[in-house]
C-alpha cells in the first residue's frame, strides 16, 4: 500500500496553455490497480505542501509494471509534481478506492467532462479486453484542450467518440449533457436500454455529474460516477472527503470518497447536499 514508484516519464503533453502532463510510474502499483482507482502521491519531502495529492490511474500495464496518470497543473502540488525528474522515486499510497465495474456485454457509455476523461482511459483499456461495445461522449472547453488531452489516443483505437466543446471548435457546440440527451433519445440506444444492455460511467465536474445523473435517472440508465473531493489521508481515516448519499430507506448518510469511492452509484449520490 505504501509504495516507492519510479518515475519513468513525466512530461507536458499538448499545448502549454493547457498545463497538462502525463506521468508514468514503474513499480508495484500496476500489479493490482483497477480502472477508476487512484494513487495518493507525495510531491515533496518538506512540509509545504503537507498533504499528498490524489490522482486517478489512467492506464495500467501489469506486464511492464507501469501505471500512467494524466494531470493538470492546478496549484503548488501539481506544479511540484511536474518538476520531478525521471528515475526519481515517488512515495505513493495505493492503488486506493473502488474502481469502475466493467460489464461483460452490451454497451458501456462513457461520459466525460474535461480532464474527467483521464480515469475513463483506464476503463477503455479494460473494456477493450471484453466483448462490450464502448461509446464515448466527451465535452471539453475547446479543440485545443481535447487535442492536448490525448484525444488522438481514443481516435487511434478506433473508438466511437462524440465530442462537444464550449466554443464549437470541435464536435458539437455546447455541453456533453446535450450529446448524452441526444444519444439516449436515439432509437438504437432505446433498444439497447430496453434490453438492459446499456450502462454508463461518468467523470467530470460536479455540476456536470449531477446533470448526467438526472438524465440517466430519467432514462433508467445504470450509472457509475467518479467523484472528487479534497482528501487528507486517502485511506478512510480522517473523514475529510465525504459525499452524501441517500440509503435505501431514504435516510442521508456519508460515504468516504477515498474509501467507498471515488466510484459510486450515480443515483445514490445527493448532489449539492447542504448539510
Amino acid at each position: 500500500m505504501d509504495l516507492k514508484e519510479k518515475v519513468v516519464f513525466n512530461e507536458r503533453i499538448g499545448h502549454p496553455v493547457q498545463g497538462l502532463y502525463k506521468v508514468v510510474l514503474s513499480g508495484e502499483a500496476a500489479k493490482t490497480a483497477r480502472p477508476g482507482q487512484f494513487l495518493h502521491i507525495q510531491v515533496t519531502d518538506t512540509s509545504d505542501p503537507l498533504l499528498r495529492r490524489p490522482l486517478s490511474i489512467a492506464g495500467i500495464d501489469p506486464e511492464r509494471g507501469e501505471v500512467t496518470i494524466y494531470y493538470r497543473i492546478k496549484g503548488k502540488g501539481t506544479e511540484l509534481l511536474s518538476r520531478i525528474p525521471t528515475d526519481q522515486y515517488l512515495s505513493v499510497l495505493g492503488p486506493l478506492g473502488t474502481g469502475f465495474s466493467i460489464p461483460e456485454k452490451g454497451e458501456l457509455l462513457l461520459i466525460a467532462g474535461g480532464i474527467g476523461m483521464f480515469p475513463l482511459f483506464s476503463v477503455i483499456q479494460a473494456a477493450q479486453k471484453v466483448p462490450v461495445k464502448i461509446k464515448v461522449l466527451w465535452g471539453g472547453e475547446n479543440k485545443d484542450f481535447l487535442d492536448s488531452a490525448d484525444l488522438n489516443l481514443l481516435l487511434q483505437k478506433g473508438l466511437d467518440v462524440e465530442l462537444s466543446t464550449l466554443d464549437g471548435s470541435c464536435g458539437e457546440e455546447g455541453l456533453v449533457t446535450a450529446l448524452l440527451e441526444k444519444y439516449l433519445a436515439d432509437k438504437n440506444t432505446q433498444q439497447l436500454l430496453s434490453k438492459g444492455l446499456l450502462r454508463a460511467a461518468a467523470c467530470g465536474p460536479n455540476g456536470m455529474l449531477k446533470a448526467v445523473a438526472g438524465i440517466c435517472r430519467n432514462n433508467d440508465v445504470p450509472l457509475e460516477v467518479s467523484l472528487e473531493e479534497r482528501m487528507a489521508c486517502g485511506v478512510g481515516a480522517c473523514l475529510g472527503c465525504v459525499c452524501t448519499v441517500r440509503d435505501a430507506n431514504g435516510g442521508l448518510k456519508r460515504k468516504r470518497v477515498c474509501k467507498e469511492g471515488p466510484v459510486m452509484n450515480g443515483q445514490e449520490v445527493v448532489w449539492d447536499a447542504d448539510i
Binding site: M1, Q42, R230, V235, A237, G240, I275
Partner: protein
C-alpha cells in the same frame, strides 16, 4: 541495548511504549491496519464519539495551509450505541491501549458517555474532548473556560473508574489555568493540544473555503505553540501529559518529551506517512539508546533543567 525500557505509566494508564495515535486521524483503528499492526503502538485513540450519531459538517471539510491542515469534520461519528456494538468488540482485541475520545454538548452528554465505559470493558482510558472547535453549538465553551472545563471533568469522573484524560484546547489565553481546572476536576492525565481555530478564504469564490467557515488547524505549523503549551503545563500541574500537535518525525516527538510529555500522540502526520507512528517509535528508541538512558521515562521534562 536489550535492557532499555520503553514502557511508561501515566497515572494508571500503562503503555508499552509512549507512541499513541491522535483522535480523528486514525479512524477506529482499522484505517492503517493494511500498513502495519496497530498493536505495535503504545496506544490508539479513536475518532471522537457523541451520544447520538452525527453526519458532521458539509464539505469542503479540508483546507491545506502552509505546513498545516484545516479541518471541519464536525464530529461525524456513528454515535455511542453503534460504537459499542460495531467497533468496540474489534478494538478490544487489539494488544494496545485503546483510548476512547468522547465529546458532548452538555454535562449530561458527557456523563452519559462516560458511564458506558468502565475498567474491563476493553478500553484503557477515556479522553474527554472539551475543545473541539468545529461544533457551533458546544464544545468550545467547555474548553475555553476553566470553570466549565472543571465541571465537565467532575461530571465524567463520577461516572467511570477508567483513567481519565482531559484534552485541552489551545485557543485560550492561559493554558495553565485550564490545566489546573481539569486537575481539580479529577483528571488523571492531560493531553494537548487540540486544533487551533483558523480559516482560509477562496479568492475566486470570495468566501471561506470550508463549508463551516472556520476549522481546526493541525500539523507542523502549530508545533511551536504545542511545545510551548506542553512546557507550561508540565510546570503548572503534576499530572502526566500526552503531547501532540504537528509531530511528524521522531525528532519532533523527542522535543515534546523533553518539554514534559510522558507520551506523544501522532495525528496529521499519519496522512502524509502512514508509517509515521512506527518510525517515530524507532527513532525514540534510537535516541534514548544512543544516549544511554535505561528507560524512556528519563527524558521526560529534561528541557526544564532543574525540575527534569
Amino acid at each position: 541495548m536489550q535492557t532499555f525500557n520503553l514502557e511508561t505509566d501515566l497515572a494508571g494508564l500503562k503503555l508499552k511504549n509512549p507512541v499513541i495515535t491522535a483522535s480523528g486521524t486514525y479512524g477506529f483503528g482499522e484505517a492503517y491496519a493494511p500498513f502495519y499492526d496497530p498493536s505495535v503502538l503504545g496506544g490508539i485513540t479513536v475518532k471522537g464519539i457523541t451520544p447520538l450519531p452525527r453526519l458532521g459538517n458539509p464539505v469542503p471539510r479540508l483546507a491545506e495551509t502552509p505546513s498545516g491542515l484545516l479541518n471541519s469534520v464536525g464530529l461525524e461519528n456513528p454515535g455511542l450505541e453503534a460504537f459499542l456494538k460495531n467497533y468496540l468488540p474489534e478494538l478490544a482485541l487489539l494488544d494496545t491501549a485503546v483510548i476512547v475520545n468522547i465529546s458532548g454538548f452538555s454535562l449530561e452528554d458527557y456523563a452519559l458517555m462516560a458511564s458506558s465505559f468502565q475498567r474491563g470493558c476493553g478500553i484503557a482510558a477515556l479522553e474527554v474532548n472539551i475543545s473541539c472547535p468545529n461544533i457551533k453549538h458546544g464544545g468550545m465553551a467547555f474548553g475555553t473556560d476553566p470553570k466549565s472545563a472543571e465541571e465537565v471533568i467532575t461530571a465524567v469522573r463520577k461516572e467511570t473508574d477508567l483513567p481519565l484524560i482531559a484534552k485541552l484546547s489551545p485557543n485560550v489565553t492561559d493554558i495553565t489555568a485550564m490545566a489546573k481546572a481539569v486537575e481539580s476536576g479529577g483528571a488523571d492525565i492531560i493531553s494537548l493540544i487540540n486544533t487551533l481555530l483558523g480559516m482560509q478564504i477562496d479568492l475566486n469564490a470570495q468566501k471561506p473555503v470550508l463549508a463551516n467557515t472556520m476549522g481546526g488547524l493541525s500539523g507542523p505549523a502549530v508545533r511551536p505553540v504545542a511545545v510551548r503549551m506542553v512546557y507550561q503545563v508540565y510546570q503548572a500541574v503534576k499530572l502526566p501529559v500526552i503531547g501532540m500537535g504537528g509531530i511528524l518525525t521522531w525528532q519532533d516527538a523527542i522535543e515534546f518529551m523533553l518539554a514534559g510529555a510522558s507520551a506523544v500522540s501522532i495525528g496529521t502526520a499519519n496522512f502524509g506517512n502512514p508509517l509515521a507512528p512506527v518510525e517515530i517509535l524507532e527513532g525514540i528508541k534510537a535516541y534514548c539508546n544512543q544516549r544511554g538512558y535505561q528507560s524512556v521515562k528519563e527524558i521526560v521534562g529534561l528541557a526544564h533543567g532543574q525540575k527534569g
